[in-house]
Amino acid sequence: MRGKVWKFGNNVDTDAITPGKYMSAPEAELMKHVLEVINPRFAQEVKPGDMIVAGSNFGCGSSRESAPAALKTLGIGAIVAESFARIFFRNAIAIGLPALTCPEISALFADGDELELDLIRGRITNLTQGKTFYAQPLPEQMLEVLSKGGIVPLLKDIASKGTK
């Protein structure tokens, strides 16, 4: 997969991604406000397939799954960050949104660069600058969930097998 990079700094929190005050609003309304306190252009201009490159501790704060879900709904193909807050990381994988850790990533991309991602190999290419890097490999459990497309397809398997 490849897409244009939206760059963010450190400590992007879940209240910035999906603000609490819009959480019980209709989905279309919530989508208008995603990340607005950091970059008001983001929700308006993001295109399907775009990628996020971010600093450390991305997704810190609440356990709200609406945060990765909103980014996925807006079309974000993958997030590559220096590090993730752990609940956000798990939630992203659980809904089938690739989240990769690469401690050097911020220095390697400028806003608007083209990023190509080979998820299985963890290979990240900056097509604009013509450079290739590797993310930390995802554990087997997470790759399995991702390859299924998230927890829901996994649960469908369980339901169809009739276990428990």
């Binding site: 603000p19 609490g20 807050a85 609940i87 659980a94 554990p139 829901v152 428990k164």
Partner: protein, 417 residues
Amino acid sequence: MGATLAEKILAMASGKDEVKPGQYVTAGIDLAMNTDQMYSVYRVLSEAGIGRVWDPNKVVCLIDHYTPTPTVESAEVSKKIREVVKALNIRNFYDQRAGIAHQVLPEKGWVLPGELIVATDSHTTTYGAFGAAGTGIGVSEMAYVLTAGKLWFKVPETTKFYIFGTLQPRVMSKDIILHIAGKYSTEVAQYKSVEFAGPVAKEMSLDSRMTMSNMAVEIGAKFGFFEPDEKVTQYLTRRTNKAFQLLRPDEDATYERVYEVDVSSLEPQVAFPFAVDNAKPISQVGEIKVNQALLGSCTNGRLEDLRIAAGILRGRKVHPDTRLLVIPASAEVYREAATEGILSTLIDAGAIICNPGCGPCFGAHMGLLASGEACVASINRNFKGRMGSPEAKVYLASPATVAASAIEGKIADPRNY
């Protein structure tokens, strides 16, 4: 080789003799708690065609964020949750009146040392104060847990904070955790299990321990333990008939790092917007007027917190330009504070007493802030827009500092009271 608390509990829960940091295990869940996100969890279950939970006796549901419901939309969600718990046969359901989950679950005897507890709320780390491995998950993973009764975990490394010295009067456990975040950053325990240890931790009341375990997630932690002791046994004796074991870390357990935290000269701390690690000692705060002071939340809305605030506010008045909101963490705290006379003291001082629940902390209920306003709050997060307008500012502090600030109408040093 000895084991830390996280290693012991994850080994037990996954049926292994021992586990090592970095290892992935599939662990059985002792308790799964759902808050207002129960309906979202149900939608995931429905989408997947799952119509029952693995063990209703191990599932608790509680409405605490939107209570009483502030909007028609949230009223509709609450209505659906009541239908859902019936459909899934979840009998352990606390509707809007009980209070905040992280206070109510311990009170009702659901949190036992040595257990593995997951919930759809990041502050589930609070249960570490009782020696339980509590951690937050999202709704999809909760749907998986409710189906399968298990979840995979990476065994975390453990970071120890050895806390020693003598706390000055009016300096609270909240100040210690804000100091730790400020000194070592909000990432110091990223993906790690934390153990708070040392003589100060041992001396601490359970209320004070819960504050620090609660905020362990703010320094990135998966779990935030205190070693369970006789205080835990005493607390639980009148709350549960279930057997439990005071599981403790081994003396020769391996720690990723041990931080020594001397609290003898620790001043009250204030975390400035918009990050929890933006903490400063009160002597360096300067003149910051506050429109609102908030005493409450799963971090600091307990009896001890209310008692300390009442001690400071007794015979004094809240500043005319400041609103003081007091939100007891649970119905039990509310009743005990009433019995003890704490509430009448606070009311006489000019406080607004609200019903138990999450209150304005997460930014979608009562007590929200207007643009340009500042609030000093005993809560856990000061992110931009967290408590209302993105143009408002939230300063994190202890209940004592909140009370002193309410009197002066600006952030104030509680040691002067």
